[in-house]
C-alpha cells in the first residue's frame, strides 16, 4: 500500500431526477493505492449506488470522482480503467468461459496469442485451469463467481469493484471465497472496493470500512476503529452486538447510565447528554455486592465459545457474553472497565416542523389541526371575538405567520391507528437502547423523525404519530 490516493470522491451526491429521491448525500472518501475498502450498510443505504457511480453506471448529480487526479465523474463505464464483479456474476450465457474472460481483451484489440496466455494465467489464479471450453451454464455458483472475478482481473484494472460478490453463495463457500479474495488482493496489489451488508465480512476483509446509512456516511475507519470506537448509535448497533444506553456525563471521566455511575475514558464535558455503547463481551460479572449495578438473569444461551446472558437491571436490559455461565433468576453484579465504555455525544433528535395558523386560530399541519391554544405561541396575547391581540392590544395578522413546533423524541407516541396522530409514517430503522427503542419513522411527507418508545414495533410497521400538544414548544418563524 502506498501513500498515493488512487481515487478520491469529493462531496458526491446522487439525486434521482424522476422521483427526487436522494440515494447518496455528500459522500467523501479517499482511497490509497492497494487498499481494501468496504462500503457497509443496510440495504438501501446508498452503498451500491456509490459503487455504481465509481463504475460509471450512474452519474453523480454533483461532486467529483478523481482517479489519479483526473475527474472521471461523467465518463461512461467503458472509458474507465475500473472493472466490476457483479452480484449475480453477469457472465455472458452465449459465450464459453474463454470468450467471457477474453471479452475485454478482444475489445482492446490485443494479439490472440497474448489473450490466450493471459486467460490461462488468470484461470490458474482462480483455480479453474482448463475451463476455457466450458459453457457458463455447466458451472456452479462458486465457479461462476471465480470466472466473474477472473474476467474483471484479466483487464488489470486500476480498481476492482465488487458488488456483494459473495451474497449468492452458501456460508461455507462464502468463507472460502473471503479468504481467497483477501489473498488475491494481497498478491495483486490492486485497489479493491467492496460492497456488503455483512458486518462480519467487512470486518474480516477490509483495510478500511465506510459505514453508511440512509445515503450518508456514518463513519470511516479501520475495522478496529469501527468496532471499538463507533461514532454513533447506528454504527454501534450495526457493527457487532451492543448494549446502547442514554446517559449523561456526571463529572470528569464519569458517566451515569443504565442505573449506575461508571468511570470512562472519553473526556466529555460534564452535563452532556450522551449515548453509551457497551459491548456484550466487555461486561464483567461480579458478586452482587461488588458490582456497580445489579440485575436479575432472565435468559442464558450457550453459544459454543461463550454464554449469552440477558440481565434485567431495573428498567434496563444488558446483554453479556461471558465464558462463565449464570443461572436464570440469579441476581448478579455487573461492572465495566473504563476501556469497555464508549461514549458518544447524543445527537439532537428534536423534531421540528412548521405549522400554520388556521382561520379558527388553531394550528394546522398538512390539513390536520393541532387543538392548542394559539395564545401559547404569542406570550401575553389573548383572543377576543375570534381575533388575536398581542399584549399591547394590537391585532395580530395570523395569515402570514408560520409557527415552528418542536417536540422531543420521547414525547411522541406511536399508535396502531394511523389516523390517530398528527401524521403517520413507516418505521425504517430501530435501535434498542437498554430501556427503550429508538425508531426512525419516515412520515408520509417524507420526513424522518426519531421517536423513542418503550414498546417494540416492527420494521415497516405503519404507525400513527401522536404528539401531545402539552409537550410541544412553539416559536414563531420569521
Amino acid at each position: 500500500m502506498s501513500d498515493r490516493y488512487i481515487i478520491e470522491l469529493n462531496s458526491i451526491t446522487k439525486t434521482y431526477e424522476d422521483n427526487g429521491f436522494t440515494a447518496v448525500e455528500d459522500f467523501n472518501l479517499k482511497v490509497k493505492q492497494g487498499e481494501f475498502v468496504t462500503f457497509l450498510g443496510p440495504s438501501g443505504c446508498g452503498k451500491t449506488t456509490t459503487l455504481r457511480m465509481i463504475a460509471g453506471f450512474e452519474l453523480p448529480s454533483s461532486g467529483q470522482i478523481l482517479l489519479d487526479g483526473q475527474d472521471i465523474a461523467q465518463f461512461p463505464p467503458n472509458k474507465r480503467p475500473i472493472n466490476t464483479v457483479f452480484q449475480r456474476y453477469a457472465l455472458f450465457p452465449h459465450m464459453n468461459i474463454y470468450d467471457n474472460i477474453a471479452f475485454g481483451l478482444k475489445l482492446k484489440k490485443m494479439k490472440p496469442e497474448l489473450i490466450k496466455k493471459k486467460v490461462s494465467h488468470v484461470l490458474e489464479m482462480v483455480d479453474l485451469e482448463g475451463f476455457e471450453k466450458r459453457k457458463v451454464s455447466t458451472l456452479s455458483g462458486g465457479q461462476q463467481q471465480r470466472i466473474a472475478i477472473a474476467r474483471a482481473l484479466v483487464n488489470e484494472p486500476k480498481i476492482l469493484l465488487l458488488d456483494e460478490p459473495l451474497g449468492a453463495l452458501d456460508l461455507k463457500m462464502r468463507k472460502e471465497m473471503q479468504l481467497e479474495l483477501k489473498n488475491m488482493h494481497a498478491k495483486l496489489g490492486i485497489t479493491f472496493i467492496y460492497v456488503t451488508h455483512d458486518q462480519e465480512e467487512a470486518l474480516t476483509m477490509s483495510d478500511k470500512i465506510v459505514v453508511m446509512n440512509n445515503g450518508r456516511t456514518q463513519q470511516i475507519g479501520t475495522p478496529e476503529d469501527i468496532y471499538n470506537e463507533p461514532k454513533n448509535a447506528f454504527v454501534a448497533d450495526f457493527i457487532g452486538q451492543s448494549n446502547i444506553f442514554k446517559g449523561i456525563m456526571t463529572g470528569h471521566l464519569k458517566a451515569r447510565f443504565a442505573g449506575g455511575e461508571f468511570e470512562c475514558m472519553d473526556d466529555v464535558p460534564e452535563g452532556t447528554l450522551v449515548d453509551v455503547v457497551v459491548r456484550p463481551e466487555d461486561v464483567i460479572i461480579t458478586k452482587p455486592e461488588d458490582g456497580i449495578i445489579t440485575g436479575k438473569v432472565t435468559s442464558v444461551i450457550f453459544k459454543g465459545i461463550h454464554y449469552e446472558i440477558a440481565v434485567e437491571s431495573g428498567k434496563y436490559e444488558m446483554v453479556i457474553q461471558s465464558i462463565k455461565s449464570a443461572k436464570v433468576g440469579d441476581t448478579i453484579g455487573m461492572s465495566l472497565e473504563p476501556e469497555g465504555i464508549h461514549i458518544m455525544i447524543a445527537e439532537d433528535h428534536t423534531t421540528r416542523f412548521e405549522a400554520e395558523i388556521g382561520d379558527d386560530l388553531n394550528l394546522v399541519y398538512s390539513d390536520r389541526t393541532i387543538p392548542c391554544d394559539v395564545t401559547k405561541v404569542f406570550p401575553g396575547s389573548r383572543i377576543k371575538d375570534g381575533e388575536l391581540f398581542d399584549a399591547s392590544g394590537e391585532k395580530i395578522d395570523t395569515s402570514e405567520i408560520k409557527v415552528l413546533v418542536s417536540i422531543q423524541p420521547g414525547d411522541i407516541q406511536l399508535s396502531d391507528d394511523v389516523e390517530a396522530g398528527l401524521t403517520s409514517g413507516k418505521i425504517i430503522n430501530l435501535i434498542y437502547k437498554g430501556d427503550h427503542y429508538s425508531y426512525v419513522v419516515r412520515t408520509i411527507h417524507g420526513h424522518d423523525l426519531i421517536v423513542d418508545d418503550e414498546y417494540l414495533w416492527n420494521m415497516d410497521d405503519t404507525v400513527g404519530l401522536v404528539m401531545p400538544e402539552d409537550k410541544m414548544t412553539f416559536s414563531i418563524k420569521k
Binding site: P76, P77, N78, F92, P93, F103
Partner: protein
C-alpha cells in the same frame, strides 16, 4: 357417478377431435397424393411436382416472398421491440397494444383499406405486385414478429449489458456482441411466426391483385379444377418443408433456452 372416473377420460373429446380433424385429413391427403385418377398407387404426382417448372417456379417465388416479408418484418420489428423493451416508458403496454390492435380488426377490412391506400399512391396495383404483396403481408404479420422480440429483449438481464460496458464495450459493441446474440431466441420464433404463414397465405396476394401464384393459390387452383391428386401432393410437399423448418428452428431455440413466448 362411478367412483373410478379417471382423469384420462377427459382426454377423450380431444382424441376424437385429433382423429377426425388432424389424422384423418392427413391420411386422406396421403391417399390422394399417391394415387391417380383411377385410384391406383402412383408416384407420378411427386415426380410431377419436381419436374413441372411451373410448380417449382411457384415454390421459389413463394420462398422468395416469404423471405423478403420475414426480413422486412424483422427490420421493422427489432428497433420497435428494442426501444419499447429498453425504455423506462410507463405506458409501454399501451404502445404494444397499438401495434397488436390491428389484429382485432377484420382481416379483409384491413386489406381492403390497404388496397385503397396503395391504389391511391401507385395508381394501378398491377404494376408492383411483388412489393404490394410484401407490404400487405408485412402489415398483417408484423405483430407476430414484435411480440416474441419484445418478450426476449425485455427479459435480457440488464447486468449483462452493464458488464459488457464495464469491460470496455461501447454502445454499438454492446449491441452487436451481447444484445443481438441474446435476442436470437426471439428472432427465431418471430421468424417462424412470420415465415410459415407468408409461405402459404394466398388471400393477401389475391386481394392485392398479385396474379403470380404462390403455393397456397397453386393448391387452390388444382382443387378448384377437381384435381385432388396433384393438389394433395403439393400440399404434402409444402407440409414437409414446414415441418423441416420448424424442426430446425425448434432445435435451435431449445439450445438457446429462449424465453420467447407466443
Amino acid at each position: 357417478m362411478k367412483k373410478t372416473f379417471a382423469r384420462k377420460y377427459l382426454g377423450i373429446p380431444y382424441a376424437i377431435f385429433l382423429v377426425l380433424f388432424v389424422i384423418a385429413p392427413l391420411l386422406v391427403l396421403f391417399y390422394y397424393a399417391f394415387t391417380n385418377a383411377t385410384g391406383h398407387f402412383t408416384v407420378e404426382n411427386l415426380i410431377g411436382f419436381f419436374t413441372d417448372s411451373n410448380t417449382i417456379g411457384t415454390l421459389l417465388y413463394s420462398l422468395a416472398l416469404a423471405l423478403v416479408v420475414t426480413l422486412v418484418c424483422l427490420l421493422i420489428a427489432y428497433p420497435i421491440a428494442y426501444v419499447l423493451a429498453r425504455s423506462k416508458f410507463n405506458s409501454k403496454s399501451v404502445v404494444i397494444m397499438l401495434f397488436v390492435m390491428p389484429m382485432w380488426i377484420n382481416f379483409t377490412l384491413r386489406l381492403t383499406a390497404l388496397k385503397e391506400i396503395l391504389t391511391a399512391i401507385e395508381g394501378n396495383l398491377a404494376f408492383h405486385p411483388f412489393i404490394n404483396t410484401v407490404i400487405g403481408m408485412t402489415y398483417d404479420f408484423l405483430p407476430f414478429m414484435i411480440l416474441p422480440l419484445y418478450n426476449t429483449i425485455s427479459k435480457l438481464d440488464g447486468s449483462l449489458l452493464e458488464a459488457a460496458r464495464d469491460l470496455g464495450a461501447g454502445e454499438i459493441q454492446v449491441f452487436l456482441k451481447v444484445t443481438l446474440p441474446l435476442s436470437m431466441p426471439g428472432i427465431v420464433s418471430g421468424t417462424a411466426m412470420v415465415f410459415l404463414p407468408a409461405m402459404t397465405n394466398y388471400v393477401v396476394p389475391d386481394m392485392l391483385y398479385n396474379s403470380t401464384y404462390i403455393m397456397g393459390s397453386l393448391i387452390g387452383s388444382y382443387f378448384s379444377a377437381y384435381d385432388w391428386h396433384n393438389g394433395s401432393m403439393i400440399a404434402l410437399v409444402l407440409l414437409l418443408i414446414i415441418v423441416l423448418f420448424t424442426l430446425l428452428t425448434g432445435s435451435e431455440e431449445e439450445e438457446k433456452r429462449g424465453g420467447a413466448l407466443l
